[in-house]
Amino acid sequence: MNKPTGSEIRVASPLKAWASRFALLLLVGAAFGLMLIGRTNGFLVEQTRTTVTDMVTPILDAVSQPVDTFSGVIDQAESLANLQSQNIALKEQNARLLHWQAVARQLEAENAALRDLNRMVPDPGMRFITARVVGDPGGAFVRSVLINAGDRDGIEKGQAAMTGAGLAGRVAEVGLRSARILLVTDINSRIPVIVGGGRDRAVLAGDNTNYPQLLYLGPTAKLRIGDQVTTSGHGGVFPPGLAIGVVSAVSETSIRVEPFVDWAHMEYLRVVDYEMSGILDFQSVEAARAAEAEAAAAEAAQAARAGGEGPQQ
């Protein structure tokens, strides 16, 4: 090894110090530049991010399996410990659910009959894509998870992601083999919902806490704690009627909702492929609606003509 001589150090160290200071300024500047790009060029941000996520997902997929097994073992040990009390609770719940099942069957039949009577347009079909949660970035600024399914599995931006209990979030970014789900609790999440028996419309807005807020609720709306919150289907992003949670707190300043999803045990997510164009394809939806309205108007005009001619004959 060549040791630097004294004079070399004397010349080199200020130069080095200057260079490192310059590099710091340059890189901090670059970081702020990236912040600016992030604000202005969403497409580039998304492309870069999905590329990196795609690269990382197979690794996460492999490593997260033992982690899942491990937490499964802990869960099992926990449930063994309170087997008896759990059994009693489950029996009670089962009885209650059987009752609800009967009610639901009855309502389903009634609903089908009424729809038939009204010739209601059926909701578009739904298809489910099940994916494993492989990444949870955590941190204080975002609430999102990564799943191990992407474009090649039929995942598309805007689709709803659910657990058995209810809505967890929506697909925000799609890579080839991975996708990022923006959870309903994230600060950027806004979902049109319907609340309670009065079926009041509102927007469910996340704020990075576990209890998202209800915004833009009409002044006449009357809410009680325990009222159900479901998706309204407005905006054509989500299918209507997906369960989200219940109203958990009502105060002067804010109304909070407790989602049904158990964030700690979110191992799998079902992505709902609702056969509707959603936010990404407004034009075709509008065109379809316009065509429908035109057809309906023509039909109505025909019916009116027929009705007008009817009594004369």
Binding site: R39, S64, S71, G138, A140, H265
Partner: protein, 169 residues
Amino acid sequence: MRQGVLHRLDGVARIISPFFVTLLLVLLALLPLRVSAIAPIMPAVALVGVFFWSVHRPDLMPIWAVFLIGFVQDLLAGGAWGPGIVGLLLAHALVVWQHRFFLAASFVLIWCVFMLVAAVAMTVTWLCACLAMMTYIDPGPVFFQYLMTVAIYPCLAWAFLRGQRLFQR
């Protein structure tokens, strides 16, 4: 000849290991732990890695590596680009600025300094995140994340030191 190649590979591995170990930590921190309360306050492991090596082997944690680690972290987190990078760069700069101080410092003293540096870095990260997202973000989880990061520092530092000794043998 063969010996020479292996020797050189070994040397390269030693040089890039701090960078890759820190990147690996960032990846591992992504794993879903299925513990309800931990996700929002997941310790900032990248900060621990960058601080540790900036103190002990600044030659192996150059500033561009810090930038890259921050960038990957911000990309994977799914939030805004930049805030994490600024925080890490700041931590690195603070350590390099006072480098002489660490030459004779004990572990406990370095840990105390880490508390200060992490506080500054995470506050700046939070400010930048608010700026980048153009909203006010509740600083509560950031504070708990800070506490977790400070608490996990000795464990990670111990593991890093063991790894370093293993390499030197």
